[in-house]
């Protein structure tokens, strides 16, 4: 693509990242969440692929690193679920504690991010996984169609 497109895509990527992270972090108080935020970030990766070409992006987004991020996101999710097994699997043990422990008032309220117990953590984990997984999938498809293979 032309230089204008590349420059604009470069600048826009920052905003896409910020917006995606916002959607992930606020997943438990506003519409959105891990999958949606991760998909937004992956769409930013799509923008970069369109602007720079898949061969160029392949050099900076290593498949191995994406795989590590994806696995650790999934691992974080399941470990948080396992952490509640003292009572019950998936038990929200963080409610009332120091981390994300606030209990929001029932009914309409202005929204407080520091609530929700384990749910923000799980959103973050899902966000990591979806971000890495979708980016890897999109990159792999783009490389496929241009005749290259993802590195093993």
């Amino acid at each position: 693509m032309s230089k204008i497109v590349r420059t604009v895509a470069n600048q826009l990527m920052l905003f896409v990242l910020v917006f995606g992270l916002y959607v992930i972090i606020h997943g438990h108080v506003t519409p959105g969440g891990g999958f949606q935020g991760g998909a937004i970030i992956a769409s930013g990766v799509v923008m970069l692929i369109v602007a720079f070409g898949s061969g160029h992006i392949k050099k900076s987004l290593r498949e191995r690193r994406l795989s590590v991020v994806e696995s650790s996101g999934a691992l974080l999710f399941i470990l948080v679920a396992f952490a509640g097994i003292g009572t019950v699997f998936f038990f929200n043990f963080l409610v009332g504690s120091r981390i994300f422990g606030g209990i929001p008032p029932t009914g309409p309220n202005p929204g407080d991010v520091w609530t929700g117990g384990v749910i923000p953590l799980m959103n973050l984990a899902v966000g990591l996984k979806v971000m890495a997984g979708l980016s890897a999938a999109v990159l792999a498809l783009a490389l496929f169609s241009s005749g290259e293979e993802m590195e093993e």
Partner: protein
């Protein structure tokens, strides 16, 4: 839900979409179009689910800056989101398989690219 045609309109649309999806899956031999057919089928089920969850006068169950009023139990919305996530994974996988099939056989026609029969 009102018992008028306009109240049932989304349901009719879901059924029509399902018919279109099945039509594509049956009569279109292009592999990419088969992927489209599956996606349309999935959308029709999503539409059907979301329509079931509509309650006249209810508000979305988001407490942040919410107006006063009865809130909707968001079960079907959760189901729809799950289905969307699954549909994304499915279509990504099918597309990668289609690309591989095209590389091996040089054809996107489900009849010409077929190796196994009988």
């Amino acid at each position: 839900m009102t018992e008028t045609l306009s109240g049932n309109f989304p349901l009719v649309a879901a059924v029509v979409l399902m018919g279109i999806g099945l039509y594509i899956l049956i009569f279109r031999r292009n592999l990419i179009k088969i992927v489209m057919g599956i996606t349309i089928l999935s959308s029709s089920v999503n539409l059907f689910l979301v329509t079931l969850g509509y309650r006249a006068g209810g508000i979305a169950p988001i407490y942040t800056d919410a107006p006063e009023g009865p809130m909707v139990l968001p079960v079907v919305q959760a189901l729809t989101l799950t289905n969307i996530v699954i549909a994304v994974a499915t279509s990504a996988l099918i597309l990668s398989l289609v690309i591989r099939i095209y590389r091996h056989t040089g054809s996107l026609d489900s009849k010409k690219s077929r190796r196994m029969k009988g």
